[in-house]
């Protein structure tokens, strides 16, 4: 059972890391931290797959929730200095990792810069559809929003992204 789960996670690992990067604003350290916390939830049974969606959608949903929790903890640490005693050390600083940014080609750097300027929801939906090859309905399930909202974010996000990329090229 655990071996099956590990094998399935291994197959999804690259996609999961890409999604974690997107959820953490392309901060590699934060993405690794979120991915480890997500795997821990899956391996120790705190996040249990009940078969209501595909396993891929489920895993990406767990990563999205874990990234949200990490952001909340980070905000709490900023406001309550003593919270770090209970919550543990911080892994992310919310900025794109410079080493990762240096290895990117110009086109992808432009794409990442443009994505960063979209709203979080638009970025999530576009990433899930174009990067993870999910349908809009699956993207809605991962992001925890309704199908109609996901469609709106998809259309508006695409239009905004095109404009931003055109501006970047000028």
């Amino acid at each position: 059972m655990a071996a099956d789960l590990t094998a399935e996670l291994e197959q999804l690992h690259a996609a999961a890391f890409g999604w974690a990067l997107s959820c953490c604003g392309w901060d590699r350290t934060a993405a690794e931290d979120v991915l480890q916390a997500s795997y821990l939830k899956l391996l120790d049974g705190r996040a249990r797959f009940d078969g209501r969606s595909s396993f891929r959608t489920f895993v990406l949903g767990v990563i999205a929730r874990t990234a949200r929790e990490a952001r909340r903890r980070s905000a709490l640490r900023r406001w309550l200095p003593l919270a770090s005693v209970v919550l543990g050390p911080e892994a992310e600083d919310g900025r794109p990792d410079p080493a990762t940014a240096l290895t990117r080609a110009d086109d992808t750097t432009r794409l990442v810069r443009a994505l960063e300027r979209l709203s979080a929801r638009q970025r999530q939906v576009l990433h899930l559809v174009f990067y993870e090859d999910l349908t809009i309905a699956e993207a809605a399930a991962v992001a925890g929003i309704s199908l109609g909202t996901a469609r709106t974010h998809y259309e508006r996000g695409k239009a905004a992204l095109r404009k931003l990329l055109e501006k970047e090229q000028e």
């Binding site: 690259a14 890391f17 480890q36 391996l43 005693v85 990117r104 695409k158």
Partner: protein, 113 residues
């Protein structure tokens, strides 16, 4: 036009995915780090639980003391405070204001008449 644009976006995301895949940490390392965290997570959980238990204990003890009437006794007489300027409020004959004069008695003070 839109389909062509979608195709370009898709190509951009594919390139991004390829670059991310090249810098993805090995699965074994991530899974091992996740398992290693299992040992540290209970410490944080224990600290949180201990803090919550301490708060609950304080609340329970205070409710219990309140219900059983075990209260801290304060002797008000010992804590009455006199201001250094109290003497300014003293009036000559102010004791007459605090006592009821007895009508018909001979010993009435002239000041009460």
């Amino acid at each position: 036009m839109i389909e062509r644009d979608d195709h370009q976006l898709r190509k951009g995301f594919e390139a991004l995915r390829r670059e991310d895949a090249a810098c993805t940490p090995p699965f074994e390392a991530t899974a091992a780090a996740a398992r290693a965290r299992q040992a540290t997570v209970p410490r944080h959980r224990a600290l949180t639980l201990a803090a919550a238990a301490a708060v609950v204990a304080v609340v329970v003890v205070s409710i219990w003391r309140e219900r059983d009437g075990v209260r801290l006794q304060i002797d008000l007489a010992t804590v009455r405070w006199h201001a250094p300027t109290d003497f300014l409020l003293k009036l000559p004959g102010d004791e007459l204001l605090r006592s009821v004069p007895q009508l018909g008695s001979r010993g009435l003070d002239r000041r009460t008449l």
